[in-house]
């Protein structure tokens, strides 16, 4: 009995969930939103298999791959930023967060170029159901990247103002968690749209 009383606080102390419950409610809500989009995509694919089978071949796969690499790398940057803060290296955190924003902006540029390429190659939203869903899903994800850039920018500002240290950096963890969620969603979205269709 006494062993259990002693062991419990140790176990709880060892468990650390990044950010706070409010951030997780927000992140899980966003993931639920994308879950509905994925379900809609899969149902539409089930109903119109021939339309979806030809879709990926007409998309710019290179743009999708470059954006995947950019998001993976930006997530690595922000994870390093949090790690640096845990070690009390605020200046290094600033650098990692600036790189995260840069990678996020590059993602937006690549997405813009991809949409331009689409226009030149006749990939229009009204062409068929696959392209309508492709635009809806990727543009929605782009909006989340833009929100993520603002969130990381806010964390960068707070870091510059000295609001965080190795013990208090919940806001930074919250911003990083949101950014990783964007990455997770893209990791599903990329093969679903660009590869398998």
């Amino acid at each position: 009995m006494s062993t259990a009383i002693v062991a419990r606080p140790v176990t709880q102390a060892a468990r650390h969930t990044p950010a706070n419950p409010a951030v997780w409610v927000f992140v899980l809500s966003e993931m639920s939103e994308f879950a509905f989009f994925f379900i809609a995509f899969l149902i539409a694919k089930h109903l119109h298999p021939e339309t979806f089978a030809d879709g990926p071949a007409r998309l710019n796969t290179l743009a999708g791959v470059v954006n995947t690499l950019l998001l993976i790398t930006s997530s690595w940057f922000v994870a390093n930023g949090v790690k640096a803060m845990k070690r009390n290296h605020a200046r290094r955190t600033l650098g990692w967060l600036a790189l995260t924003i840069l990678a996020g902006l590059l993602y937006c540029v690549v997405k813009y170029l991809e949409y331009l390429w689409n226009v030149e190659h006749g990939v229009a939203m009204r062409a068929n159901l696959f392209f309508a869903l492709y635009y809806y899903l990727t543009f929605n994800h782009l909006l989340h990247v833009l929100i993520g850039i603002c969130v990381i920018g806010w964390a960068l500002l707070q870091t510059a103002l000295g609001a965080y240290d190795s013990r208090r950096h919940e806001g930074l963890e919250g911003a990083a968690t949101y950014w990783h969620m964007i990455d997770l969603v893209w990791i599903l979205l990329f093969p679903m749209i660009y590869i398998v269709g």
Binding site: P18, H46, T68, L69, S75, W76, L188, P191, I195, V196
Partner: protein, 88 residues
Amino acid sequence: MSRFLREPLNRSWLLLVALTLLTTAIAEGNDLTPFLIALIALIVVVKGRLIIREYMDMKTANRWLYWALMLYMALFSLAMVVFSGAHR
């Protein structure tokens, strides 16, 4: 280089880049059979696990939250295989 590889975050990043390129290579070089789609879905789960465990640092987090994220990745990867396999 070995110092770079000693860091779990760096190893995860390299693995994620390699898995992304592998996915692209599978898609570019082949007609996608159900087996290859299942392989791509498996790669998605592995990538998701790396991000959740290493980048999000959920190794020691609330287990319910960790498994909810893993389930999300696994379910939609499985759905991708099921919905693709039915029409090939």
